[in-house]
Symmetry: C2
Subunit: 482 residues, 2 copies
Amino acid sequence: MSDAALLSIAVDRNAPQPLFQQVYEEIRQRILAGHLQPRAQLPPTRQFAQELGLSRSTVTAAYEQLICEGYAAGQRGSGIYVTELPEDSLQTATAAPRRPAPSVRHGADRPRPFAAGIPDMRLFPYEKWAQAVARTARATPRHLILSDDVFGDGELRSAICNHLSEWRGFAATPEQIVITAGAAGAIDMVFRSLARPGNRVALEDPGYAPLRSMVPSLGLTPIWMPADRAGGANPDALRTDGNAPHLICLTPSHQFPCGGAMPLARRLDFLETARQAGSYIIEDDFDSEFRYSGRPIPAMAGLDEAGRVLYVGSFSKVFSAHVRLGYLVVPEPLVPRFRQTAERFGVGASIMPQRPLADFLKTGEFHRHIRRMRRLYADRRKHFFDLVDRHLSRYVRYTDHQAGMTVLLSFLEKWDDNEIACNAAARGLALQPASAFYARQPSPPGLLAGFTAFDVEEMTAAVQTLADVFRDYRRADTDALN
Amino acid sequence: MSDAALLSIAVDRNAPQPLFQQVYEEIRQRILAGHLQPRAQLPPTRQFAQELGLSRSTVTAAYEQLICEGYAAGQRGSGIYVTELPEDSLQTATAAPRRPAPSVRHGADRPRPFAAGIPDMRLFPYEKWAQAVARTARATPRHLILSDDVFGDGELRSAICNHLSEWRGFAATPEQIVITAGAAGAIDMVFRSLARPGNRVALEDPGYAPLRSMVPSLGLTPIWMPADRAGGANPDALRTDGNAPHLICLTPSHQFPCGGAMPLARRLDFLETARQAGSYIIEDDFDSEFRYSGRPIPAMAGLDEAGRVLYVGSFSKVFSAHVRLGYLVVPEPLVPRFRQTAERFGVGASIMPQRPLADFLKTGEFHRHIRRMRRLYADRRKHFFDLVDRHLSRYVRYTDHQAGMTVLLSFLEKWDDNEIACNAAARGLALQPASAFYARQPSPPGLLAGFTAFDVEEMTAAVQTLADVFRDYRRADTDALN
């Protein structure tokens, strides 16, 4: 009996994994271990949710993921069944899920359509970069392999200061710059240096999903700041209880995933709150290079006179995610503490790209490349919005924030965005459900779509495929209601 | 009153930090905040330990660290006092501890004498490496910036397979290799892929200290395998209770920090235990390239027929720690699961050094460099042992394991190794106390000394300085007894 195998499922509300993922994983293990045979029917979501004491949407999300990964199949209303897995998947409980065959064509090394926050690496100036590398190799070969400082290469740290002053409107000295393994490495370093288990960390809701699992995995307690579409995170949330958070994580230039920029009044409010409470602010400035109209919004770090803001920058969005470089700007009084962290744990960044990247910045190649990409992404954004207006206006609406590498498409109907993202994945599209970014606030259903890495032809095909996904979903939805 | 400020110290026995570190941190914060004034006397260790309900050695270790970092000063027996800190340290509770001025001369970019596990980067073939980089830049510039596969560069993964087959005696296919950000990145990836909060992880005791804090920080429960000097970790520890660990972390080629190689019988015992219990073994093969006599001991992964061993290799010990490259060899049936992890979280390794390193391996430069360093380190080891025999034989003994980059010097007396490491640090030496590696087993006091990065002149001076440290300690110890 399949139901007997499922009765023993236990979920842990204190575990860092979301509940739906625990349910998904438990069922998957039972399928792989052979306790749930092919063609066995999974219990109806309503009944199973009651048995487990969980919400129905949790069970639905678990089922969707099983369907998405090929472990189960079926339609809403007509029952979900365990699929036949290839023989070798069953030999071990650790085998891979089957992936649905993509229906949108793309090369093996190309990102799937709508993949978010990815530069178009076909347009990278490889030759110019190779020249910068070759210059370093000739002039100072030891700088390709050896770092003189635990914070990273001195010339790169100087070049970043110039970049920040010209592009982000604030002054920092090279001593304040730490080169890290991407923005994630920078955020990790702040947590290691400034937070201790039990500390409270304020996170945007909705917000960047990996932070949500990172914070409890370090023994920190998340508290939630509702972020609205217009102005980003709301500082009022920090005043509702007396106990101020130790760290406040913000995306003020371009709220992720909604897209709005935080108004000056709120920025000042956060800074004053942090100053009074002795909290620190992490300013994650993840894609501020891409603003398509008006003047760039200076970084919040530039307003910080009390040394409360830790600015996090990334080279993944304009340069290459595969080189894994980011940086952190540390307020001067905190520098010794961060040096201690760096000496104890290392900073995780490879020294090898650092001196060539300094060269790339100093010769202006880096900024020529940003400007070129910004023009291109502006065109792609316009084309994408035209396509959405033409093919998807019956299903979604969006706000044009004139910035960034992604757009949040909000559904006009109360449809299940997990299910639609899953259906889209089955056709090779990489859209993320809006609900994945929400923690406590009710999630208006929608999809996060990246538009930067795809040319006109690719995007046209992708939007048409997405329109098919919506059309099929609406048809099934209407059928289910009748 | 200083005592009043200290009465409110609270320690958390469930926190991942050691108790002594919590006490240290609490006192440090009070000094920086001005609650403990300069020249205030810290309570005697015995009295303070009773008040806090802690062991006296915990309080002593906390005091030692404060002394070591310049927050306190004094002598055993005559009382410990808060030192005068420079004015600017007191402005913020996050200021740096003062570091004692080194009394052994060394350049700013040189490791401190006895620093463990560090290659001598003065002897790195920079020109050859620059040539390998330049060849990649000319031939395939895109491979300096873009990865074709989430597991890393294909040519490097192939080259690693050849290396493993020739140097470590086991066969793997490139599909099984994941390029990671150092060995730490590889271990982190195993935890993310195979363990879930609440799982038990068996660790060597004594063992690699960062693992001890990493395991609980991921919600995993450590269990301890006593490791002896002769044969490394003992598999009997896993049979004393019924509940097998999910992961078993081992250093079979060269137990860290004791230095012994695990005999074949124990290796087979671990493999069989893992097979029966469904556990996985992490084989951390951190410095096996350096064996100075006899035949190299093949990796444990070569004995694994059941797909239970995850082999972790590093380029930090022979190549450069600053390039941050390591790798993981994943048993074939687990490859899809690790691909999922890599796609979700990334692998953290920079693509940039990968194709040049493949070139370096294929042209034989890499192995020429290993052989050169092995001859050099063999000579340095001999010189180091001669110096120890001549200058330190009244204080320490050691076992010559004919391998590795470090030696554990065991004290002949029951002296406090924290205190002696601290005194040595005050004279610029980077020795680690043996007690830092022990979790549950009683720690025989000693010091871990690295010998690879220092030439004859540097090592001679360093051993003489260390002899002075011991002489002064013995004198103070004798005085205290009289």
